[in-house]
């Protein structure tokens, strides 16, 4: 068989690889063959019959989405017969379609609408009564309007093949055939909304978005989801400073169209009524709203006073703030306040991994690697709960490339369904279990190892030593919790490591020490909630908090600055695989400022010069000063993702593994942010106990 096949489509010579389907061969040369049920990456259906084309020497019209090309084939995609067939299909489709476009969410971006305009007839010849079924609500976020459904089965397939959930199926037959949820009248699933997103018509609609707006009334802002560490691009639909929906229909970003419930729906914390919208200062023991200038001068005065007398500062940074903010914060602490008492909630042992990989290149996996590498080993993490995009990539890798998957987890995980070998290992027993896979792993051509927070300190070194001993290329992912956990670490939110893991001469106090120190004078918390879990040691400390909500930590504050969320600011974040991506402000919430602006104003008020507080300027500085971050600006600026180059040198200093602990969020929780997302709380309350028996 030759490497290429030559054929003719609409009189144009086309060359494509053997096995290419006609529909894709045509796409290569810019010829559109319409289809509903054909969908890249999902199983073939040939159900909608929209892609019928004429192929010379075959008596019947052929289905372009399932027929592979052949040498010398002559295809006509726009002959009178084909046009008539398409017109007939659209006509059939519309017979029971309600044509309620003026009130349908999908109106304006509906594939059926587009197809009807392009290929359909102007008038309907259907005079009979349409089949009607009442609308159903399947979950807090999923609604189904059966009459609008054209049964392309995209939702069924994405749920089964893409998500591994298999929560949707088909019931009844003939014209009464309907998509149905897995629990009779409701869904028990990931509530990811992939089914809604992939629906070409308005049959599956989103509980958040339905009947709120028309698509063209929003502006669409592509930014990075602020919840977990996977760094999915989410395109926010914003109208009048209000986020109305999140999706990623343009397939941009590392995640393509994938989003879980958090990226798609959990933006709603932004509009929570509990959002702080004014600075507050504690007066006579009570927090009272004050002006920005009063709050800033109160803090600046206190900072200067403590700095002057050589008092003790403690600074805790954020897992959600941008790289620029974290960089600026540590610079503020180190240069402006003269302290190395700075840390953040560490959720994975990245420094040890980097140290262990010292001297190796290409040892850190990208999210794309999870889709392309031939074997994957998951250690101590329930990916589909905590890293749903990484899980999606691995699942897609298995489906499309037959990747070999291995799991070593403390309980059952979804990846087991297609794993070559899965071992249930109690905490502490992970490495022994990994060792038992040695022979199988050795036989693989290459491997990606993902490991959770249970693997820390020496265990990381042992894991890397194990990887080295396999004699195959191994890449690693150290799993981290939140949207910029990686950036916080890279930017030097650590008492002993500066930006780019440069050692600090005199290490400061670590996270637990800051909180425990009885003689602390100032605690400055930027976008974190340490007092949720830890007791605070210092009674006299002056506590400054930059926060969106009145969290446990904010309640203890002497001054609170209302902070903007990630969706309200510009900058960059780095995901779990070290890929730097751009945050783009979609809206403004009245009364808030970004953490960067707050810090900038504070530096100005204090009269310390730590540089301009513009995110572009700081990113320039980061690119120059933080090892690995000299990424091509053009890619990041245009919304692409670039992996930072690994430090590739020893990382000095002890890591203190006991400080490393994942928050253990699930699909439906997201630290403090999650509490203020109505959607996340509503699905937790949804009927059923799907997750209670699945969580390891």
């Amino acid at each position: 068989m030759s490497d290429v096949i030559n054929l003719t489509i609409d009189g144009r010579a086309v060359t494509a690889a053997p096995g290419t389907l006609i529909i894709n061969a045509a796409k290569q040369v810019g010829i559109e063959i319409p289809s509903f049920c054909y969908y890249d990456g999902l199983a073939l259906q040939a159900a909608c019959r929209m892609c019928l084309v004429e192929v010379d020497k075959t008596p019947k019209l052929q289905v372009a989405c399932t027929l592979p090309i052949a040498e010398g084939m002559v295809v006509h995609t726009d002959s009178p017969l084909v046009r008539e067939a398409r017109k007939g299909m659209v006509e059939f489709l519309l017979t029971n379609h309600p044509l309620d476009c003026p009130v349908c969410d999908k109106g304006g971006e509906c594939e059926l609408q587009d197809m009807t305009f392009r290929y359909g007839a102007g008038e309907s010849r259907f005079q009979e009564q349409k089949v009607h079924v009442e609308e159903q609500q399947w979950s807090p976020v999923v609604f189904f309007d059966a009459p609008r459904c054209i049964l392309c089965y995209r939702c069924v397939r994405i749920c089964d093949e893409g998500m591994g959930m298999n929560a949707l199926g088909v019931i009844n037959r003939g014209v009464h055939a309907e998509i149905a949820p897995n629990r009779f009248d409701h869904l028990e699933c990931d509530e990811c909304g992939m089914c809604i997103d992939i629906c070409p018509v308005g049959a599956l609609t989103s509980g958040m978005y339905r009947y709120k707006t028309r698509p063209w009334e929003m502006h669409h802002v592509g930014t990075i989801c602020t919840h977990c560490s996977n760094g999915c691009k989410t395109t926010l639909g914003v109208r009048n400073n209000q986020i109305i929906r999140g999706n990623n229909r343009d397939h941009s970003g590392i995640n393509g169209e994938f989003l879980c419930i958090k990226g798609r729906y959990a933006f709603d914390f932004v509009h929570s009524p509990e959002r702080l919208q004014s600075p507050m200062v504690r007066k006579n023991g009570k927090l009272e709203p004050v002006s920005w200038s009063e709050a800033l001068s109160t803090v600046a005065r206190k900072f200067k006073e403590v700095k002057a007398r050589g008092g003790k500062f403690g600074v805790i940074g954020s897992n959600h703030a941008s790289n620029e903010e974290n960089y600026y914060l540590q610079k503020f602490a180190r240069e402006g306040l003269g302290t190395h008492n700075i840390d953040h909630h560490r959720t994975g042992d990245l420094p040890t991994l980097l140290d262990a990989l010292s001297g190796k290149t290409e040892a850190l996996a990208t999210t794309a690697d999870l889709y392309t590498r031939k074997a994957i080993l998951v250690v101590a993490s329930d990916l589909s709960q905590q890293h749903s995009f990484l899980a999606f990539q691995i699942r897609a890798n298995y489906r499309h490339h037959g990747a070999h998957i291995y799991t070593v987890t403390p309980g059952p995980v979804r990846e087991q369904h297609h794993a070559v070998n899965s071992i249930i290992a109690q905490p502490g027993g992970e490495l022994a279990a990994v060792e038992s896979l040695r022979d199988q792993l050795k036989a693989e051509a290459e491997l990606v190892i993902l490991f959770g927070d249970a693997i820390k300190g020496d265990a990381v070194r042992k894991l890397v030593a194990f990887g080295d001993s396999l004699g195959i290329p191994v890449r690693y992912v150290c799993l981290l919790d939140y949207s910029n956990s990686r950036g916080a670490s890279d930017m030097g939110l650590a008492p002993n490591l500066g930006p780019g893991y440069q050692p600090v001469a005199d290490a400061g106090l670590a996270y637990d020490e800051i909180l425990a120190a009885k003689d602390l004078d100032v605690l400055w918390v930027v976008g974190a909630n340490p007092l949720k879990r830890a007791a605070f040691g210092s009674e006299q400390a002056f506590v400054v908090v930059q926060e969106m909500f009145l969290t446990e930590t904010a309640q203890r504050a002497d001054v609170i600055f209302p902070a903007a969320s990630a969706y309200e600011k510009n900058g960059t974040v780095t995901n779990v695989c070290g890929e730097v991506q751009r945050l783009k402000a979609g809206l403004q919430v009245m009364g808030t400022k970004s953490d960067l602006e707050i810090m900038g104003l504070l530096s100005k008020e204090m009269g310390v010069n730590i540089g301009m507080w513009s995110h572009e300027k700081i990113f320039e500085e980061i690119r120059g000063k933080v090892r690995g971050y000299n990424v091509p600006l053009s890619i990041v600026a245009t919304g692409g993702a670039v992996q930072t180059t690994a430090v590739n040198g020893r990382v000095a200093g002890s890591v203190r593994p006991e400080l490393i602990q994942s928050a253990g969020d699930t699909l439906f929780t997201s630290g403090s942010l999650g509490r203020y997302s109505k959607t996340l709380s509503s699905v937790v309350e949804a009927p059923g106990a799907l997750y209670s028996d699945r969580r390891p």
Binding site: A46, R49, M89
Partner: protein, 437 residues
């Protein structure tokens, strides 16, 4: 049990034991040439078996009429995967009622056919997929299978030949679509019965992704005769390329409806007037459904033809599954079209758009039309919609719905004319009269 008097014109090959007492028992079968073919097949090479089948000119009795020898030769006998033999007993084509008789009256003939199929492709497991409505047949078939097991004609080392074979019945839930062989496979695997994409064909990738020998009950039942008496003997009964006999299910407005085994190529008019005892009440012949409701209908003047696959294909109809329905001059063709479409709309699985939407649209139109709500242009629209379905659906069900409709629209325009302008059906009165008689 027989439901009609045999006709002297019949050539009894498959039905030869039907009239014997206890015809369904293994003893009767063994006493009348039973399992001779199986022992012969054990001695034959697979190539020889295929050769006999090819010589016999046996063509698939399920409806499509594909040469069986060729179809069975497609199953990769040396595949390392397990192979399966599956019998399509989902007999549900309107007008067809022959498979049930073969299972009721001579189940062991079917079992022997299955064993020969299993021997041919080196399969050791078989399933008889019986239509959901045939509850009693499942019981009967199970009884026969049990008997065969007890007597060593199924199971391990059958009759000391070293050949193992297990046979099971499996039932659908009553969906016409599951008679389509790939939908049947999905159903047997426990899935929703919708057709699969072809290729790959079931012969190569069938049940549980394995090579599968899949044919109709009547096809399997014909195999023992072919192996025992030779393909040539079978072929000689029919016309060239159309070997053997067919179970013709003669129904409709005739005096002696019933299932008759006739040589392939038997003249249709003789079938009606000689085998079927002529038209009921001396009425005139109006139309014939030659082989099940999916076939384009024949006008009376088209009926002087031999009933074989090729002749019917030549006049743009089909021999189909042998369900010959005879209609007299009092039949309203609009009503007939509506009745068929009601069936197809009900049975459409819903998988692809043209069949799902088209059948229901047509049903509603025909219902309205027959009820006096017909408009000028409706007849043309019915024809056009049917043509929009024809050849464009996922499986043949859409074609099955479209073909008879197109033939009715084209061949009996006057019946449609007669319903226009709010007129009541001109045949209603006549058919009431007929019922009273």
């Amino acid at each position: 049990m027989l439901y009609n008097e045999p006709s002297p014109l019949e050539v009894k090959i498959l039905t030869k034991r039907f009239t014997l007492p206890n015809s369904q028992s293994l003893d009767t079968y063994l006493a009348n040439d039973g399992f001779k073919a199986f022992f012969k097949a054990i001695e034959m090479s697979p190539e020889q078996i295929i050769e006999e089948l090819k010589i016999s000119a046996l063509r698939g009795r399920g409806g499509a009429g594909f040469p069986t020898g060729l179809k069975w030769s497609f199953v990769p006998r040396n595949s390392p995967k397990p192979k399966y033999v599956i019998v399509n007993a989902d007999e549900s084509e309107p007008g067809t009622c022959k498979d049930r008789l073969l299972m009721e009256n001579d189940p062991h003939q079917l079992i022997e056919g299955i064993l020969i199929g299993g021997r041919l492709v080196d399969a050791h497991k078989g399933f008889i997929y019986i239509r959901g409505e045939f509850r009693y047949l499942i019981t009967m078939m199970d009884r026969a299978i049990e008997e065969a097991y007890k007597r060593g004609y199924l199971g391990k080392n059958i009759q000391g030949t070293g050949f193992d074979f297990d046979l099971y019945t499996h039932t659908g839930a009553g969906a016409y679509e599951c008679g389509e062989e790939t939908a049947l496979l999905d159903s047997i695997e426990g899935k929703r019965g919708v057709p699969r994409m072809k290729p790959p064909f079931p012969a190569v990738v069938g049940a549980w992704q394995s090579p599968t020998l899949l044919s109709n009950v009547e096809t399997f039942s014909a195999v023992p005769f072919i192996i025992r008496d030779g393909g040539a003997a079978f072929a000689a009964l029919g016309t060239p390329k159309n070997g053997g006999t067919r179970m013709i299910c003669l129904s409709g407005h005739i005096n002696k409806p019933g299932v008759y085994e006739l040589p392939v190529g038997f003249n249709l008019l003789r079938m009606i007037y000689e085998v079927g005892g002529g038209m009921r009440n001396g009425k005139k012949l109006k139309a014939v459904v030659p082989g099940g409701s999916s076939c384009p209908l024949l006008k009376a003047e088209e009926c002087d033809i031999p009933m074989d696959f090729d002749t019917l294909a030549k006049i743009k109809s089909m021999l189909g599954s042998g369900g010959t329905v005879v209609l007299d001059e009092d039949t309203c063709m609009v009503k007939f079209a509506h009745r068929i479409m009601k069936f197809y709309a009900h049975e459409s699985c819903g998988w692809c758009i043209p069949c799902r939407e088209g059948t229901t649209w047509l049903r509603k139109m025909l219902e309205r039309f027959h009820g006096g709500g017909g408009q000028t242009g409706d007849r043309e629209l019915i024809g056009e919609l049917s043509k929009n379905m024809l050849g464009r659906t996922f499986c043949a069900l859409g074609d099955a719905a479209a073909m008879p409709t197109i033939s009715i629209v084209e061949k009996w325009p006057e019946d449609f004319e007669a319903h226009l302008n709010g007129r009541a059906c001109p045949y209603e009165h006549a058919s009431e009269m007929a019922m009273q008689r």
